[in-house]
């Protein structure tokens, strides 16, 4: 459904993505893991055109094109079909929770206000935030903000939702409420690509896990297999380190 082939990206002389092949099928939940600096966030951002990739083939449904030749108009259309959840939430600070969710429907999709409001309230309901609909982001906790951000990504019923470390900026006691929402989405069959450090979550929710290091995909496969019996030494090393950190 969404995929890239031979994706390259450099920041200056620093090559961050060195030919990534990646593909997500409809209804699939993919967890991308790897230490910081491995390029996993950059990969996600390239797929949303928040970074401009240097080279590669981009695929979305029927469209398959050299990523450098995709026009601004096409980017806008592609973005309409995806949702993006940021590490730092990025809720619009000048708008209430409800207005945040409605914004894309009213402005980008020209939906009428009442219909947009109903859909948005339904989305807030899904993430358990209806009672805070009229609150501004500054009045919400990090976990609540991220749940509203998920509602905002869901509002336009996208074909796929990309999550960029959705719980990394949260206090540990607040990660649960966000992960619960994501588990629910996975159960409903939402197509999701999740960059994450939550190994337990990846094991329970992801269909497929991708381990990245130094700008390449080292290993990928079913979640259980990668997380319990990794074949590559690099994967084992990474998992040991993560596990040790979690125990501390």
């Amino acid at each position: 459904m969404l995929g890239v082939k031979n994706l390259h990206k450099s920041f200056g002389s620093n090559q961050v993505l060195k030919g990534i092949d990646f593909n997500v099928d409809e209804g699939e939940v993919i967890a991308i893991i790897g230490s910081s600096g491995s390029g996993k966030t950059t990969l996600l951002r390239c797929m949303a055109f928040l970074e401009q990739a240097d080279d590669g083939i981009y695929t979305f449904d029927d469209l398959s094109k050299d990523i450098r030749t995709i026009s601004r108009k096409e980017i806008k259309e592609l973005r309409m079909k995806m949702g993006f959840v940021f590490q730092s939430f990025n809720l619009f600070r000048n708008k209430t929770a409800l207005q945040n969710v409605m914004e894309g429907l009213i402005v980008a999709r020209k939906m009428d206000r009442e219909q947009a409001r109903q859909i948005s309230m339904a989305m807030l309901e899904k993430v358990g935030m209806t009672d805070r609909a009229n609150y501004y982001p500054d009045q919400l906790s990090g976990g609540q903000q991220q749940r509203v951000a998920i509602a905002r990504a869901l509002a336009a019923s996208p074909e796929v939702i990309l999550f960029d470390e959705p719980t990394s900026a949260l206090d540990p006691e607040l990660t649960g409420e966000v992960l619960d929402v994501m588990v629910k989405l996975a159960e409903e069959g939402t197509t999701m690509v999740i960059v994450t450090h939550e190994m337990e979550f990846a094991r329970n929710v992801a269909d497929r896990v991708i381990f990245m290091e130094n700008g390449v995909v080292v290993e990928e496969g079913p979640a259980q297999e990668i997380l319990s019996n990794p074949k590559e030494e690099a994967t084992r090393r990474f998992l040991r380190r993560i596990l040790r950190n979690e125990e501390e």
């Binding site: 928040l50 973005r79 990025n90 708008k95 894309g104």
Partner: protein
């Protein structure tokens, strides 16, 4: 000694309405007009820089360099005394409005530009990801947030402008300062006259400061108290309803 005291009090009381009238007739309109035009020009100068429009961006940098790098009084003199040699004549008041507007635009464009750049890039990215275009992201997300950041320093610049209008007295504009000078010369009580004039400037700025904090409170993105109360009521009702059903 007491004669002198009563004389001063009489002079102050008599001159007060004259100063106040000049203040309301000239100083305040001069300030507001200059600030209004200066703000519009500042916004344009800031936007062409943020949008990185080639040519216009460089022009804006050049403009800011010129108008911040030369004294305001010199700019006044060039427009009022200098331009006539090219056949361009302005009366005192319009010349002052033009000079003040152009000067303010330079300072205020820097305030607005930095405020726009202070809005986190994540706000823009989130806007793009829900399908907005550049114009929509700017007008609906970035500029409203930048306005709040820019508000206090812009207000400082307005307060500064109020006092800088006194420079207009040097190009024949009869504003409050000119009147004060004249009365001081007639009665030969400069200390008390200028104290009184200073008091009026101080009053205007006190009013402005008060306005500033009122506006700032309005600009906060917090739920109005009424909404909160109403929602608490709804919650309480829902709860009561639930218990009634169960009970």
């Amino acid at each position: 000694m007491s004669d002198r005291f009563f004389r001063i009090v009489r002079i102050l009381i008599e001159s007060f309405p004259k100063l106040l009238v000049q203040c309301l007739k000239i100083t305040v309109p001069l300030t507001l007009l200059s600030f209004f035009f200066g703000l519009i020009l500042a916004l344009i100068l800031a936007l062409v820089q943020v949008a990185e429009i080639k040519g216009l961006k460089q022009f804006a940098r050049f403009y800011v360099w010129i108008f911040r790098g030369t004294p305001l009084m010199l700019q006044l003199f060039i427009i009022f005394y200098g331009l006539p040699s090219f056949g361009i004549y302005f009366k005192g008041f319009p010349a002052a409005v033009i000079a003040f507007s152009l000067n303010l635009a330079a300072y205020n464009s820097e305030i607005i530009r930095s405020a726009i750049q202070a809005v986190p890039i994540g706000q823009t990215e989130a806007g793009y990801m829900i399908g907005l275009n550049y114009f929509q992201v700017m007008t609906r997300i970035v500029l409203p947030q930048a306005a709040r950041i820019a508000f206090p320093p812009l207000f400082s610049s307005l307060i500064g402008m109020t006092k800088d209008t006194s420079l207009a007295s040097s190009i024949t504009v009869i504003e409050m300062m000119s009147v004060a000078k004249r009365i001081a010369a007639v009665y030969y009580e400069p200390f008390w006259m200028y104290m009184e004039t200073g008091f009026i400037y101080l009053m205007i700025c006190t009013v402005l400061t008060r306005l500033q904090s009122d506006f700032e409170r309005k600009l906060e993105w917090k739920q109005p108290v009424e909404v909160k109360e109403a929602m608490d009521r709804v919650e309480a009702d829902n709860l009561a309803h639930k218990f009634r059903w169960k009970g």
